[in-house]
Symmetry: C2
Subunit: 339 residues, 2 copies
């Protein structure tokens, strides 16, 4: 057992949460892997709904569910105690449990013991499920694409998911490799890389994306930014361990300073490319950028189109908004460069 | 309570270790802080001696000792069970315990409970003693010097200790800030930065080196290398959180490939300077190199002198071997640049 591996399909636990903003994980799962979500579990009709059938854990198991996923972010980080009986009921009904909370489900009194007795598993995906090895730095077969960015929370996960899906639709062997809690729940596998002990960041990234057939693509979810005063270490370790052949730069053209760091300006894409390449060459000298993914959600239609065109021309790279335009130009670049 | 803070002076536990190479921590403490080491504890006369008086824990307490430090690295990482009674005896005699092992002393059955009951502390310095905050990236008063390197295990700790001590001898307000297990035991304070959860590397570095008076120097022990395929994330997070004004590059001119990574060449110093500066400018635009510390232990006297002279001329920086030549030229540069 190395990385997290969750049993699908899921029942999504929404409890009594009444603000959709606190149920982002549940909405993300419903949007990205609807085929893996068979039911929701709400305590009241006033709770947020993601549109799945309401079921008890017992009925969800009968409908095929294997894991109850906590789909909300509780205020203060702790699950209210009145949710605990539902978690026990789920285990007793035959479901595993999974959550990406700061609080560990397995620290809830009695829950880990109950799971052990019943042969169920509890996935606290923010907690690395094993100690990883120190990175070897040795090359391994298979192709790898990593999304990188000028800041956090710009669309690196979304871009990676979209590229992996598009590659699969075009008949390529490709896997999305998750490095954040929502990504791990979406894919059912992965590691929350910023929860790993610092010594093992690059080692965990090597484990996440193992040797594969030569034309297989791992599309790896990036984290943080090389230009972020708090998280650059995570980004660099993930970059070195991933040994990417291809990079996609993610950027939000309307963001002037880092999210939560008003004293730190966001770098323009043209100044971000070379530092990423210089750092990545340490473990893969053949690394190159294959595209730019702009998050143009803050721009109107005309301005978005103009920004995409100008960015593409100035950087001489395919430039897309994965939500607005799809990622076809990046797929075309990959097919042309790695024929 | 934030970082580790150990009570001095120490008794050094050597047990029945008979190979001096497995007692590096004890020798390091004896060499760097002889005034803080009052006794050793050996099970037999055949065990390694660091030349301190042999005492029982009870007698060591009478001689002033406050903490029993495990001064050895056990084969396989685990302390033999026949050492456990001695640890209990030490707690009962009035000593705290400290170790930098992979195994936690506080996981030894009954030991944590005994310490709690007696009001003693157990310092497993490889385990961060609290969750750190995410880095703010905000500047803070006081001056900071960080040692950085072209590889691991080249003398970054030694250089930082030597510079801190030389600054103090010249009458400057200065503290050595430890980031590795031996450094923490030497100084009695600090954080083992590679044991911190990845998200908090830079935050831990900010906590390690807090706001100070404007002319006070924190001399911070560097870790790893920006050019190391496994540890660069740690190095970058430490660099960003330390916000150094001054950098000292550490390098071993006889090492051609990274220690344990024969496929990765060691960068020449002239190619290492600019990447460090570029990365460091994110949190301190005024950063500069103030010197180079070469580890010339693999060179003869004449060749060492020639290498120091040539490196100094080509990089236009003071170049020393902290062991062979001392660090006076670097201190002179600091006094001239930051008058």
């Amino acid at each position: 057992m190395t990385l997290h591996t969750l049993q699908k399909p899921y029942q999504l636990l929404l409890g009594d949460v009444d603000n959709p903003r606190n149920a982002k994980t549940a909405f993300g799962l419903r949007d990205w892997v609807p085929q893996d979500c068979v039911a929701q579990l709400r305590f009241t009709d006033q709770a947020v709904s993601v549109g799945l059938p309401d079921m008890s854990p017992h009925r969800a198991v009968a409908a095929g569910a294997r894991t109850l996923v906590v789909g909300i972010a509780p205020v203060g980080g702790l699950l209210p105690e009145n949710w605990h009986p539902t978690l026990r009921e789920a285990l007793e009904s035959g479901l595993d449990l999974a959550a990406g909370l700061h609080q560990r489900l397995s620290d809830i009194p009695g829950l880990a013991e109950l799971a052990r007795r019943l042969g169920r598993r509890i996935h606290d995906v923010r907690q690395p499920s094993r100690t990883f090895a120190v990175a070897s730095g040795l090359p391994r077969p298979g192709r790898r694409l990593l999304t990188v960015g000028t800041d956090c929370a710009q669309g690196k996960k979304y871009a990676a998911l979209a590229i992996a899906k598009a590659l699969q639709l075009r008949g390529h062997a490709a896997d999305f490799r998750a490095t954040g809690q929502t990504g791990v729940l979406i894919s059912g596998q992965g590691v929350v890389i910023d929860s790993v002990i610092a010594d093992f960041i690059a080692g965990a990234a090597e484990t996440l994306s193992p040797a594969n057939t030569p034309d297989h693509w791992d599309v790896i979810e990036g984290q943080g930014s090389l230009f972020h005063p708090a998280y650059a270490g995570v980004t660099l370790g993930l970059l070195h361990g991933s040994q990417p052949d291809a990079l996609v730069l993610c950027h939000d053209p309307t963001r002037k300073t880092l999210n939560g760091y008003p004293q730190v300006p966001v770098l323009s894409p043209q100044f971000a490319l070379e530092p990423y390449l210089a750092a990545a060459r340490l473990t893969n000298p053949r690394v190159r950028f294959v595209g730019v993914a702009l998050n143009t959600s803050g721009l109107g239609e005309v301005e978005a189109a103009r920004t995409l065109k100008e960015t593409s021309e100035s950087l001489k790279l395919p430039c897309v908004d994965p939500i607005r335009t799809g990622v076809d130009p990046i797929i075309a670049a990959l097919e042309s460069l790695y024929a």
